[in-house]
Amino acid sequence: MTDQLSPVHVQRWVHGFIDTVEEEVDHLTDLDRRSGDGDFGTNMVSALRRSREAMADADVATAGILFQIMSETFLAHSGGTSGPLFGMWFREFGKVGMVTEAFTQEMLAEATANGLATVTRLGSAQEGDRTMVDAIAPADRALREAVESGSELREGLRAAARAAHEGARHTSDLLGRRGRTSYVGEAALGSPDPGAVTIAMFYQAAQRSAD
């Protein structure tokens, strides 16, 4: 339908994402309990709620503003490891969407690529280390391909969402090598990494917003 995500789409995307995380908070927390310290879901939801409050007064003039708000909120309030990483992740989307009104597929690919670079630079995790990177990297490849092949935005987002989902699912088979899950070893096998699952929700919400 659309080859851009306008502010309205972005609002749907962001709120859809927050809704999903809120619905899945217990599940996410449970995943972190299996592989870490069990605070992931609550941390994430509390930062997202704060973000939602901050968004209420925001002037939604640019495509990036909501991501900027989420970024500042996560960087300002979220403890743990994932908080600041997600803060920097959202930040890349905020930056790319800072001066325009809508996201093109190219911009989404660029934000994803920048986000991947930032998260790996800061967290030093490689793909395969059982972190959010395992969902980001496939999404990055999918969007890059979509841009190169000239497919339309919805196609690209569907591919990215699928790739992120598969990447997250695949973390069930991975031994943790970064963050708290690295202390847990084999005990985490069989359930996916909550950070990766959350990234998958992020792209799923993007795709739905474009439908």
Partner: protein, 332 residues
């Protein structure tokens, strides 16, 4: 049963910070939203020295804000890193255009948030450098891939020395080099006789049998890798000092700064007793205890225990150590 003087455990840090700022009006100012503590008397034209980390280690770091040491301290919640936004704000508040030195204890959350803050600052044109303090010998695995040694009481020496050098006008690059040199020459070992309890919790974070000590304990209530037999100080202290001497490859005639640090609930009687033994051991090895500090400076809530830190010293480091300092927790 452990109890504390507090109201809502959630509020323990903000309430303590308010009390702290009110207690030291000539030394510090408290900023809220985001939370950080800065010097009451801003010093123009110097590199800002900023540190921070989880609360529960008081007087670290807020107690070291003042002339000759920190320009700002950024406290997180109990045992939790401050956020990048706090660190950025504290850095912007103290930067004079000459850049900001971040003194960071090596914990994943602290490292991550300070690194992020550095990137945010860079985008605003403020240069910063990180000095990573990783002195805890107990977590020295030799494994290059892991999180590395934790940061503990040697951070005190880095803050003091860098704070003095900054006051004297050193630039950011040389401060960073100096701080790294001090940190590289610092090692610590800590022993706990009883764990502390989180605000509002009645149980200590671990229980110890009567005949054992937690050897190589951290400052966040986590257990050590090792338990050893409880023994008189004259036997425990050499077990702490000897590995430090070895790790630092200290030779006869070398000078050190020795820090005997209480972890919260340890009496001065004990700390001074321990220091006497540390000194005896080092003098017996021909190592010169050129400077020393004994007290509870880097704590772990109300943990009963103490740490011994040795920092290799040279004339420059000693001169900066001796330079005047005026902060709530350290003044000379």
């Amino acid at each position: 049963m452990r109890r504390q003087f507090l109201n809502d455990p959630q509020d323990v840090v903000p309430e303590a910070l308010e009390g702290f700022a009110a207690a030291w009006p000539h030394h510090v100012r408290l900023h809220g939203e985001p939370t950080y503590v800065v010097r009451a008397r801003h010093s123009p034209d110097k590199v800002a020295v900023v540190s921070g980390g989880g609360s529960g280690h008081e007087p670290l770091h807020v107690g070291f804000v003042g002339t000759g040491m920190l320009d700002a301290a950024v406290p997180g919640a109990v045992f939790a890193s401050p956020t990048a936004v706090q660190i950025r704000a504290a850095s912007l508040a103290t930067d004079t255009g000459r850049g900001v030195l971040h003194v960071v204890k090596n914990y994943t959350g602290d490292v991550l948030n300070f690194r992020i803050a550095g990137e945010l600052l860079a985008e605003e044109g403020v240069s910063s450098e990180v000095v990573l303090v990783d002195d805890d010998l107990a977590t020295d695995t030799g494994d290059g891939d892991g999180p590395g040694r934790r940061g503990t009481a040697a951070v005190l020496a880095v803050e003091k020395v860098c704070g003095a050098a900054a006051e004297l006008g050193a630039d950011l690059a040389s401060l960073a080099a100096l701080g790294r040199r001090v940190a590289a020459g610092g090692r610590t070992l800590s022993v706990a006789l009883a764990a502390g309890a989180h605000p509002g919790e009645s149980r200590p974070s671990f229980d110890l049998p009567a005949d054992e000590v937690e050897f190589g304990v951290g400052i966040h209530g986590e257990r050590a890798r090792e338990r050893r037999a409880f023994a008189p100080a004259r036997e425990l202290v050499p077990q702490m000092v000897s590995p430090l001497v070895e790790a630092l490859e200290l030779r006869r005639g070398e000078q050190v700064i020795a820090i005997v640090n209480g972890l919260g609930a340890t009496s001065d009687l004990e700390l001074y007793g321990v220091f006497g033994q540390v000194r005896g051991f080092l003098e017996g090895s021909g190592i010169d205890v050129a400077r020393r500090l004994v007290g509870s400076y880097v704590t772990s809530l109300d943990m009963a225990g103490c740490s011994v830190t040795l920092v290799r010293a040279d004339e420059e480091i000693l001169r900066l150590w001796d330079a005047p300092v005026s902060t709530p927790a350290l003044t000379w």
